[in-house]
Structures are given as structure tokens and as C-alpha cells.
């Protein structure tokens, strides 16, 4: 009981000193709980949405992954409707004509498709739609020129009834007038939705008057979904996909659900890093509190407390800290989730905060993480507290003794770092991607742990070096700061290590990211001869768009590029479905794939093709062999292998080229897949004119983008940059926790050095000099952490690049501006971290500080 009481009093007495540790626990727990609440809410939202749209039983075409991507949805015959209506237990059959591959443009040729990656859906308006939406203004669509638009999209683009839209669908473009606005009853997950009357949807979206994309069945009362599914399957055979409402829901949910899972685990991963960094902070806090309380603990021991009791009293304090931090963290997590939902809302995904889903496991997990981590982190300091001898009470405690970094630590740290370094070298030289990545992981882990262990020893050396360079300018104050940073290497090491972790990841990723950009750029320069790449933002190019592209002037040639699915039988007798790149022969100039045998141009001869090096080796294919190529939904061709391409590339790696004309000969026109892209080469000296002409040609197709090589490089750079920025943003959490650690160490040091500060002030150190001294100490710690982190991270990044060179990441590019900025930024962060501790040190009352007890 007394133990609990002393712990409790200590905890309250040192509220301030515990505050930063509590914030670290709070942040980590909040991040974990926020992630859980957010993903749970998203899941619940989608469940509700899919439940509201799912029919009791749905009949749809059998999914065929091998089908050619013609851009037209697969359809069911109209006759099926009658047969389904005959099935006993079917109360109602609702035919659907839906396409998710449409684009709609406003009168100003602006796309209304969501930018979040959600689809633009066109469907027929019927009774079943009323389950999920209601028409809040205007009326239902009638006839070929009327459509209803969902309210969120209408809001976003300022569209109302009466406005015109041009719909670009696979069968062709058509214009409609918005006659109504439909508002979701449940949460709109962000898709743009257009409703047409049924005949319009059939003809304009599916391209065939009599057919539908699926049928929704309502079960008669007393008939279960499972029973109905069985009966329907019995009646219409196994040629169709028949799903109950539950199965439909699960099917719809599959993609979203796995995306949410990936997101959840990624976020939890970053939370984990923050937790790891928080551990350093908590260990430091308790170590310092125990050190400062040495005399007090000695007294407790002298008057009869057992080691165990002292030990326990520290752990109980940790427990209290963990509980307080976690409880606040859980609250913070919910707030964070709400914030995230608002953020999604601003990106077009309207989530209703009233749907906030907090599962009981969320607070349990949050509390468990917070408490376990805190208590574990406090365990070592608690043990050290237990070991304090009763004699400590009698000694003049003065300042805690300088923690000498031991030889054991040095040996272990160096061995771990060396082993990690060896693993990294092995990974860099590895020829085998999977073994190499294992080595890389091992190397990263070992060097990280090694650096953390050896950190206090490095502190001695590195801090001296940094001081020589940075602090000497500041004269005696700089020297005082240097000595302070050096006096307790273990503390400095732990504080800097926390910062090191986050910055190492930043450095590693920046090296990999910029190497990716540099490699892609080099590859583009080396092998791409085309001046322009024309692609659609959502899926393949519609035939109308391709026609429009080809109307551009000042172009030397256009190359179409499409993917044809075919079953390929090789001379070794094996058959597998392959994706053939069916391209215009001019493509050989646009993407100069290197061949190991034969000439690439010959691959575009009649009934000819090329195969990649690896494929040729695996199947024993030689130049001149004829492969049996059975086009899916088409006829079988015998194609002669005229070229074998090199695998040492990152553009079109593993592609099998054939002339698009060859593909067309063996495929019926309606089964010919749409072009994935069109490349264009400008006529000599007409690059500018060609670009303008191309852009003008596709002006009516807002989803179609024309990019020249520079644009394309920028696109790659932007995409990599965006990804990196997102990761940096998430790593910021770990870095913030580490900065809190620096603040914490400094704040506790200031308290610990009250007497010294008083002495310095008494003998004439001005407030300004005092503040500068604290700030410089902080800067040195931060720079030390940054140096370790950036060094370690760059080593990781370079290793990863060497390893990924196998996958085409051939160019190493160390982004020195980023690295330098991070290093300089660390100094700024150090200054900021010292703001409050320095202020307090400056304000410290000289008399209180020097008063002898």
C-alpha cells in the first residue's frame, strides 16, 4: 500500500517531468487507435453501402480473366430474364445495364470523374436504385438524352438540372442533359454515378439493345437466398455467376477490403515505429528520474524498503503513466479518425462521422500497447533503482555520475553493426532478389540495433567532431554545451537514437525514390524514341479517342499499343495464357527494345512475333520456331519467332511483340481489345506544332492526356514524390516523438543541473549565454542523431538500390539536396526543441539554484 502511495505521490510530484513521456504514449496510442477506428468505420460504411445495393440473388456473366479488354461490359442475353422469372421462388427480376468504364465531360470538356481513383459508373434507373439513392431534385431519366447525376458529383462540379454532359463510353460518345439529382441515403464512397433509362443504358453503355449486364432477383417470402441460388443455378445451368446477397457483398468488398487492410497495416507499421521511438523517450525519462532521486531512494532503502519494493514503486509509476497516456491516446485516436474522415471528405469521399465505429477491441488494444510498452521501457531503470544502495542516502548525491559506456556494450554494438554491415554488403552483391532482400532486411535490423547499442560510444567521438565544426564559433558557451552533451553519453546516445530511426528511414527511402526516378529517366532516354505518349486516365483509349488522336497534324507516325490475350503453346508442348503486345510496326522506333537474337523489325512481319530472353530459355525457343497462338475469343495463329528481346530493361520487360495487324486478322472486330496507349513521333523539327495539334485533337476527351518525354519524366517524378511525401508525413510522427525526446532530455537535464546553472549565473553567465548553451547542446544532440540516421539510411538506400538493380533500378542517385536539407532541418529542430528548456534555464532563480539545501 505504501509502495502504491509513494508511487502515486511521486507521479503527481513529477507531473511536469512525466508530461512529455505521456505525450509520447498518447501519440503512439492515438495513432494506433485512430487507424483502427478509421479502417473499421470505412469497413462498416462499405458493408452498409454494399448491403443496400445487393439483390437477394444476382445473376451475372461468368467472370473471365482471359477475356479481351474490349472496354464493353460482358452481357447476358435478354432471354435469360424470362427464364429467371420462371424459376420458383423468384418474386421479381430486375435487369441492370451498368458500365464502370465511362467518362463524362462537362460542356467545358472537364472530366467529372473522381480524382480519388473511384470509378465513374453509368447504370439504368429502376426501382432497385431507390434503395440507395433518392431523387432530390428534378425527375427520373426518360429517353436517350436524359440522365440523373449523383448529388456529390453535382456539388463538386457545380452542375444542376439542365446542364449538359457528354458521356464517353466504349460503344461511342453521346450527349445528355441532367434532368435530376440523386442523393445517397447511405454514404457515397466517392464514385461519380450517372443514371439513364433502361434502353439508353443498354444501347449506349453496353452497345447492344437487348442485353443486360446482370439481373437482380428478389426472393419470394419464405425462400432463403441460398435456396433461391440453388434453384436458379439448377434452372439456368452453370454458365453464369449466381451470387446471394451475402456473396455479392463479399465480392464487392474484396477489393476495397484488401485495400483497407493494406492501408491499416501500413499505418500500424508507422505507428509501430513511433512506439519504438517512444520507448527511447520513456527509458530516458525513467533513467533520469531514478538518477535524480538516488538520494531519496537510498533513504527508502536505508529505512527498510526492499529492493523489490523500490523496483515496484518505479514500475507502478510507469503503469500510471501508461494508463494516463493510453486513455488520453484512445480519445486522441478517435479524434484523429474523425479528422481523417473529414480529410477524405475533402477529397471527395463523403464519410458520415455519425457512422464512427469504435469496436471494443480498439480501446483494449490501445490500452494494452500503451501500458505494456511503458512498463517494459521502465523496467531497466526500475531495476537500476532497485540496485541503489542505502549508502546513497548518506553520500552527497551531487550530480549523477557520468555513465561510462562499457566495453561490453562496445563489443556487442560493434559486432552487431559489423554483422549488419556484412549483411548489407552481401545483399548489395546478391544476384538473387529474394535471398538479397532477406539479407537486406537482416542488415537493416542488425545495423539499427548495433547503432543503438554503440550510440553512446559514438556520441563521444561524433559529438566532438560536430562540436569542432559547429560549436567552436560560439567560444566558451559552445564548449560548455559540448561538455554537457558529452557528460552522459548513454543519455545523449538514446536521445539521438530515437531521432536516428526516423531519419534513417527518410534517408533510405529518399535514396531509393530518387534512384527510381533517375533509373526510369535514364531508361526513357536510352530506349524511347517516341516524342509523345497518349494515355487515358481511366483504362484504355476508346476507339473514338484514338481516331481523334490520329487526326493530329505534324506527326511522323502514330503507334498503337494494345494487349491481346492468347493461349500460347511453345515447342516444349506447354500452353499458358500470355499477354501479347500487339503494336504498330513503327513501335520498334518508339521503344527500342534490344534483342539478343534476330532483328526487332522482323518481329512485325506477317504472322511473326518476338519473345523475351527468359521465356525463350525456359521453353527452348529458337529463332524461326513457330508458336501456336490461340487468341482468346478468336482464331488460332502460327506465329514465327523472329526476334528474342533482352530482359535487361525496365520498359516493356518481358513483352512479346507482334504486329497489331496480325492480331486483327485472328480476332473478330468486336473482340479486338482497345488501345492501351498511342505513341507519336513528331515530324522533323515540328515538335512544338505536333504537341499543340495533339492536345487540340484530344481536347474533347478530358480523360485522355498527351505527354511528351519531359512530361512523362515529370509524371514519374511526381508519382514517386507523392508516395515519398506520404511516407515522410507518416514518419513525421516518429520524428515528432523523437523531438519530444530531445525536449524531455533537455528539460530534465535543466532540472538536474539547477545548481550548475545557478553557479554559472552567479559567476557571470548572462541569460542569453545560458539559453544559447542549452540550445547548442540540443543542436548537437539533434545533429548527432541526424548524422547517424542519415548515414545509416543512405547505406540502407544504396544497398536497396544495388539489390533492385536486378529489377531495373540501375542508376544510383543520392538526393543530396534532400539529405542536406534534413541535416540542416535537424539543427533547426534542435533549436526548437530547446526553446522551452532554454527559457526555463534562463529564468531560473540564481539564489534557489545555489542555496545549499
Amino acid at each position: 500500500m505504501t509502495v502504491l502511495k509513494t508511487s502515486f505521490r511521486n507521479f503527481l510530484a513529477h507531473k511536469g517531468r512525466m508530461a512529455l513521456s505521456a505525450i509520447a504514449v498518447l501519440l503512439s496510442v492515438a495513432f494506433v487507435c485512430g487507424t483502427l477506428v478509421f479502417t473499421d468505420t470505412m469497413n462498416a460504411t462499405f458493408d452498409k453501402l454494399f448491403a443496400s445495393t445487393a439483390s437477394d440473388v444476382a445473376v451475372s456473366p461468368k467472370k473471365n480473366d482471359d477475356a479481351q479488354e474490349t472496354g464493353k461490359p460482358q452481357t447476358l442475353p435478354a432471354s435469360l430474364q424470362g427464364r429467371l422469372a420462371q424459376v420458383p421462388g423468384v418474386a421479381k427480376v430486375e435487369p441492370h445495364a451498368t458500365s464502370q468504364q465511362i467518362t463524362a465531360a462537362t460542356a467545358k470538356n472537364k472530366s467529372i470523374s473522381p480524382t480519388s481513383g473511384a470509378p465513374t459508373v453509368g447504370t439504368n434507373w429502376d426501382e432497385s436504385q431507390k434503395k440507395s439513392v433518392e431523387i432530390t431534385s428534378g425527375h427520373e431519366p426518360h429517353g436517350a438524352t436524359e440522365a440523373v447525376l449523383d448529388a456529390d458529383t453535382a456539388d463538386k462540379h457545380g452542375l444542376t438540372t439542365g446542364d449538359k454532359l457528354r458521356v464517353i463510353a466504349a460503344p461511342g460518345d453521346f450527349s445528355v442533359t441532367i434532368v435530376g439529382i440523386a442523393t445517397y441515403r447511405t454514404t457515397n464512397p466517392g464514385a461519380a454515378v450517372l443514371y439513364f433509362d433502361t434502353p439508353t443504358a443498354q444501347t449506349k453503355l453496353l452497345g447492344t439493345a437487348g442485353e443486360f449486364s446482370s439481373y437482380g432477383l428478389t426472393a419470394a417470402s419464405g425462400v432463403s437466398d441460398e435456396q433461391l441460388k440453388k434453384d436458379v443455378t439448377a434452372a439456368v445451368g452453370t454458365g453464369y455467376t449466381v451470387h446471394t446477397a451475402a456473396e455479392t457483398k463479399a465480392e464487392n468488398k474484396k477489393d476495397v477490403g484488401s485495400f483497407l487492410d493494406v492501408m491499416k497495416y501500413a499505418l500500424l507499421g508507422f505507428a509501430g515505429i513511433a512506439v519504438l521511438v517512444g520507448i527511447f523517450l520513456i527509458v530516458n525519462t525513467f533513467s533520469m528520474l531514478v538518477a535524480q532521486r538516488t538520494r531519496e531512494i537510498g533513504l527508502m532503502r536505508a529505512i527498510g524498503s526492499s529492493r523489490k519494493q523500490v523496483n515496484r514503486s518505479v514500475l507502478v509509476e510507469a503503469l500510471l503513466l501508461g494508463v494516463v497516456g493510453s486513455v488520453l491516446g484512445i480519445g486522441g485516436g478517435i479524434a484523429l479518425a474523425v479528422g481523417l474522415m473529414e480529410l477524405m471528405g475533402s477529397m471527395g469521399m463523403k464519410l458520415d462521422t455519425s457512422e464512427l465505429t469504435v469496436k471494443t477491441t480498439t480501446p483494449v488494444v490501445g490500452l494494452a500497447i500503451g501500458v505494456v510498452v511503458t512498463v517494459l521501457a521502465a523496467y531497466l531503470p526500475a531495476r537500476r533503482a532497485g540496485k541503489i544502495s542505502p549508502m546513497a542516502a548518506l553520500r552527497d548525491a551531487g550530480n549523477p555520475a557520468d555513465g561510462k559506456a562499457g566495453t561490453v556494450r562496445a563489443v556487442i554494438g560493434l559486432v552487431l553493426s559489423a554483422a549488419g554491415g556484412a549483411a548489407l554488403v552481401a545483399a548489395a552483391q546478391s544476384d538473387d532478389a529474394s535471398a538479397g532482400s532477406g539479407m537486406l532486411g537482416l542488415g537493416v535490423l542488425l545495423t539499427l540495433v548495433g547503432f543503438v547499442v554503440v550510440g553512446p560510444l559514438l556520441a563521444g567521438f561524433v559529438v566532438r567532431v560536430i562540436s569542432t565544426v559547429v560549436l567552436r564559433v560560439f567560444g566558451p558557451v559552445g564548449r560548455l554545451a559540448e561538455r554537457n552533451a558529452l557528460r552522459n553519453p548513454r543519455r545523449t546516445g538514446a536521445t539521438a537514437s530515437a531521432l536516428m530511426i526516423g531519419l534513417a528511414l527518410v534517408a533510405a527511402l529518399s535514396v531509393v525514390g530518387s534512384s527510381m526516378v533517375a533509373s526510369a529517366t535514364e531508361q526513357l532516354d536510352k530506349s524511347v524514341g517516341a516524342d509523345f505518349i497518349v494515355q487515358s486516365e481511366n483504362g484504355p483509349l476508346s476507339p473514338a479517342a484514338v481516331t481523334a488522336v490520329k487526326s493530329a497534324r505534324d506527326v511522323a507516325h502514330f503507334s498503337e499499343y494494345t494487349i491481346v490475350h492468347a493461349k500460347v503453346t511453345t515447342p516444349d508442348g506447354r500452353t499458358a495464357t500470355q499477354r501479347l503486345s500487339a503494336v504498330s510496326p513503327t513501335y520498334a522506333d518508339d521503344v527500342r527494345a534490344e534483342t539478343v537474337k534476330g532483328k526487332l523489325a522482323d518481329a512485325y512481319a506477317e504472322d511473326a512475333m518476338s519473345v523475351p530472353e527468359g521465356f525463350a530459355e525456359d521453353h527452348g525457343i529458337k529463332i524461326g520456331d513457330r508458336l501456336t497462338v490461340a487468341m482468346v475469343d478468336g482464331r488460332t495463329a502460327k506465329l514465327k519467332v523472329n526476334a528474342i528481346t533482352s530482359d535487361d530493361t525496365s520498359i516493356d520487360k518481358g513483352a512479346m511483340y507482334t504486329d497489331i495487324a496480325t492480331a486483327k486478322r485472328y480476332l473478330p472486330a468486336d473482340k479486338m481489345p482497345l488501345d492501351a496507349m498511342v505513341l507519336a513521333k513528331a515530324a522533323d523539327g515540328k515538335a512544338k506544332e505536333a504537341a499543340e495539334s495533339l492536345k487540340a485533337a484530344v481536347a474533347e476527351y478530358p480523360q485522355v492526356k498527351v505527354r511528351d518525354q519531359a512530361d512523362y519524366k515529370q509524371l514519374i517524378k511526381d508519382q514517386v514524390g507523392q508516395l515519398l511525401n506520404m511516407i515522410y508525413g507518416l514518419l513525421a510522427l516518429a520524428i515528432i516523438v523523437a523531438v519530444l525526446g530531445v525536449v524531455n532530455t533537455l528539460a530534465l537535464s535543466v532540472v538536474e543541473r539547477t545548481r550548475e546553472i545557478g553557479l554559472l549565473r552567479a559567476i557571470g553567465l548572462s541569460r542569453r549565454q545560458m539559453r544559447r548553451m542549452i540550445r547548442l547542446e540540443s543542436v548537437v544532440i539533434a545533429l548527432f542523431g541526424a548524422l547517424l540516421g542519415l548515414g545509416l539510411g543512405m547505406a540502407w538506400g544504396v544497398t536497396a538500390q544495388q539489390l533492385l538493380a536486378l529489377q531495373g533500378l540501375g542508376v544510383l542517385d543520392v538526393p543530396w539536396p534532400t539529405i542536406t536539407a534534413v541535416f540542416a532541418g535537424s539543427a533547426v529542430v534542435g533549436l526548437l526543441a530547446a526553446l522551452v528548456p532554454a527559457f526555463r534555464a534562463g529564468r531560473m532563480n540564481v539564489l534557489n539554484a545555489i542555496a545549499t539545501d
Binding site: 560548455l480 561538455r483 541569460r767
Partner: protein, 262 residues
Amino acid sequence: MTTAVSIPRTGGSGGRTAAAARARQVLKAYGSGETRVVALDHVDVDIARGQFTAIMGPSGSGKSTLMHCLAGLDTVTSGQIFIDETEITGLKDKKLTQLRRDRIGFIFQAFNLLPTLNAIENITLPMDIAGRKPDKQWLDRVVETVGLAGRLKHRPNQLSGGQQQRVAVARALAARPEIIFGDEPTGNLDSRAGAEVLGFLRRSVDELGQTIVMVTHDAVAASYADRVLYLADGRIVDEMQHPTADMVLERMKNFDARGRVS
């Protein structure tokens, strides 16, 4: 109650006025109303230049407060304090800090040295902070006087208590301040080490012309001084010139007889 006898200063940094420090009607009170405690009750005192002055008195007599006020470490409620001709009451922190740095030396009872700096670095610290170059000759002489020549590269934790206090004395002397304040500088030392330190202080007054003010409750320590001031209840109640330990002890017994505990 100004009873100080001013003795013209000889040596040192050259005198301007006879008194190195003066207090005029200094009142120091804590709290207000019923809880008001008067630590210094309109004290007038002159600290003679080139002299070793001891301030004695029972616990709570205000002797430490007087020293802190004279040294510019503490503020007064009313009254004036001068260091030489400079009035320090009312000075802003910045000026006051500069004054302490450039014109005053300190020796505390304990914790005089920065543990991160070695002996010589501690000794030159006030000058380093001020950005002044120490006078090499003078520094050598001070170091030699306090007998630390062989231990200048040692850290405080490698020095004995007596040695640490000697480093503190050297630091106070090295900057050639106008006045040195000692707050029980030998309070934590055994008698032999204490005697050494006091011996140095005495010699620095005799040989270097230094002005020293020391608070102590030890009669033997006070006997090294030229003059002893007695404080009780925040007032100077007595003083003694050229004291011996026995005389001081006798005087202190008087306090005890009146029911005061030292």
C-alpha cells in the same frame, strides 16, 4: 550603525574609494502582512577595501541574505547597495550579470565547480564567459599560490574537497575582481583543509591586496579576518577588529547565553 573603519587600500587593482562595497538602509523583507519576515532591517555597512571581512551570526540572522544582496545575487526591498561607486540596486539583470562577471568573485560552500570542466578551465571560466584573455602571469601566480600546478588538467571529481575549494578560490582570484564573496567557503571541509583554504584567502588579502567578504559560523574561520561583523535579527549588532578564535568564540557564547543557537 555604520561602524566600519575604512582602511586605505594598498595594492590590488588600485583603489578609488575607501569602501569596496556599501549598504545603505538596506531592508529585505519576505511576504506581507502577518507573515512578513524581515531578513535585513535597515542595515548600513561599509566593506573596507583590501580587507578580509567576516560576517557572523546565528542561523536566521540574515548573514547570508546580506552577502547575497551585497553581491548582487538577491534584490533588496528598499535601500541602496554600491559596489565601489556603482549602485547595483535597481540594475537590470543583464548589467548585474556583467557586474558579477567582471567585478565580483564567488566561493560557495559546495558545488563550486562545473563537473564537465577541468581545474584550469574552471579557473578561467568567468574570463572565458566575458571573452577576456586571462593575464598569464597573474594566472600562474594565483595557481602557484593555491598550489594546484600539478592538478590543472584534473576534473573536479578527481580532486579532494579541499582541492576543489582551492580551485574555487583560484577562480575567484584569477579574474582580479574588486571584491570576493565567500559563503561558508570552508563549511564542508575538515579543519586541516579548511585551514589551508583560509590561509590562501588571508594571503591573497595580505599579498595581493584582495578585498574579501566571508559569511561563516565558524569562530576559527572568522579569526582569519581583519574584522568581524555580527548580525542578529537582521541587524548588525556588533563588530570586532583583529579577532582571535577565542575572542570570537567568547562573543558567540554571548549570543548563546541569550538563548540563540548558532
